[in-house]
């Protein structure tokens, strides 16, 4: 009880919780769920973009894409490490992913069908991710906040690179390239708006998350901020956002936008998106087919450990 009071007071003061500090079980569980979900999103997110590494159209773009996907692996590492500070091992977290128990961001259940999808993921998906993640840099759990600061810096870089790759095609490309970019934006726009999660009035976890300083800004606020920022960027690019209801609302000082198809959102969350099966299958296959490698590494380390004393 005293511990809980001190914890609450700390949170209320805007203080940070470190791994060694006492914390309520629920807080710990919520964080493990959220951080691991985020970590899973990073490693599943390597798949749709990785799909284009072998086909990148120039060596510069290939290098940028490789570096980006590598960064995502790195984000996965930090985040698993942050989750491990809360007492759950990476193997346990991965087991939950592979069994389908743990979730990852639904956006990665959409396929990358053209090269323009790679740039669009950088621009829109990473853009939305940053909106979601910047507030987490002030999250009450310090190891998570520290990981997010580094991640957000890299994500911003990725977003600019994605935007730049689309800009080159829209400004200097052929008609076929421009059409490819527009098509990609058409396919990714609505799923990106869904990335902020259900509307606030249907989002049960928001209040507690806010209370604990894990979540700092509501889904709808973040979504609006994303729309407002993106409309301007779309103008610079010269692409049309596929929403006839999109228009400036002088009164609100924001862009109004159309109704999101939440049936689609829940379909994808519940496993029926275009690539859910394949994404999970790819992760499970990598894990299972890699088992012999991990076992061999352990066996070799054991042999080495046994040899040391003899040699000594």
């Amino acid at each position: 009880r005293a511990l809980l009071q001190r914890f609450d007071a700390n949170i209320d003061d805007g203080g940070f919780i470190e791994a060694k500090d006492w914390m309520p079980e629920n807080y710990r569980r919520t964080l493990v769920r959220q951080i691991s979900q985020h970590a899973h999103s990073e490693i599943v997110g390597m798949l749709p973009e990785g799909n284009w590494i072998s086909r990148a159209p120039t060596l510069k773009r290939k290098a940028i894409l490789l570096a980006k996907v590598q960064d995502e692996g790195g984000h996965g590492l930090y985040l698993y490490a942050a989750a491990e500070t809360l007492g759950t091992s990476r193997d346990e977290l991965l087991a939950a992913l592979h069994s389908g128990k743990a979730k990852y961001s639904s956006i990665f259940n959409y396929p990358t069908l053209t090269w323009a999808d790679v740039g669009t993921i950088g621009w829109l998906v990473d853009g939305a991710a940053i909106m979601n993640q910047v507030p987490i840099c002030r999250c009450s759990y310090a190891p998570y906040a520290r990981a997010m600061i580094r991640i957000c810096r890299e994500e911003s870089f990725h977003q600019r690179q994605g935007f730049d790759s689309l800009l080159v095609m829209m400004q200097n490309g052929t008609e076929a390239q421009k059409a490819m970019v527009q098509d990609a934006v058409n396919r990714w726009w609505w799923p990106c708006l869904m990335m902020f999660g259900p509307p606030d009035d249907q989002s049960p976890n928001t209040a507690q998350g806010m209370r604990w300083g894990i979540k700092r800004v509501s889904n709808d606020e973040l979504r609006q901020k994303f729309v407002d920022a993106t409309v301007e960027q779309a103008k610079v690019l010269g692409v049309t956002l596929p929403d006839p209801d999109l228009k400036w609302n002088e009164e609100r000082g924001h862009w109004d936008f159309g109704t999101i198809d939440w049936d689609e959102f829940w379909n994808v969350v519940n496993g029926n998106g275009p690539c859910n099966r394949e994404r999970l299958a790819a992760r499970v296959k990598a894990w299972e087919e890699g088992a012999w490698v991990r076992e061999a590494a352990l066996a070799h380390a054991d042999k080495q450990a046994q040899r040391q004393p003899k040699a000594a």
């Binding site: 086909r55 120039t58 290098a63 012999w292 991990r294």
Partner: protein, 260 residues
Amino acid sequence: MQASIQLQRDPRQQYLLRIGDTCLILAQRLGEWTGHAPVLEEDIALANMALDLLGQARAVLTLAGSAQGLDEDQLAFLREERDYFNPTLVELPNGDGRPGDFALTVLRNLFVSTLLRHLWVRLHDSSDEELSAIAAKAVKEASYHQQHAADWVLRLGDGTDESHRRMQAALEKLWPYVAELFEDDAVDEQAAADGLGPRWAELRANWHAEVAPLLQEATLQPPPDKSFMSTGKRGVHSEHMGYILAEMQHLQRAYPGGAW
């Protein structure tokens, strides 16, 4: 109009393309692992090596094309298969299906990074200043790649029965393609005469001096040498190369005049 470019068949250019294409094609193969490696750390390490190799490829291809006014992308994406000069070893698939066999991947990395490290060391003394500068940077990367690969070869060769069996199978598959690395010809002759770089044959002894004891420590046994000789360095590749190129070149070929 994305027809293929024509090369001049110049020994200097071919010498450089052998190096650049070795890096380029191995980067392509390593990139296939991204997202599919046995542990996350290896996803990152393999992508990182692919990135280093790609950087080396870009520098060397740029140099190789400069005399003829060709840029790195024209060379990377718009040649016919006969005009790629990497040794066959680097174009072999990672294994059946994708992403393939981790044993074969780390063993090939050992073979190629050992070759490249010794090559970069010698190229540091090249009469071509630009090539010398590229080599100065690349040698550090190759050392890291070699160390990483050696660690894995040791771990997997002397790990479990299964990992040993897989490594030995990979060794039997790859070993026949090693001889080509050190085959001598007029291209190397000319490069040596011009001080551009060493004959690759001169690297053979050092290569074996490093690889042989490592294989032994890893309890792996190379198969007996045969008369088989692959010929990728002369532009006569295996049947795998065409599939790599069809995939790698697709966007450049399908969007003529595109800006990327």
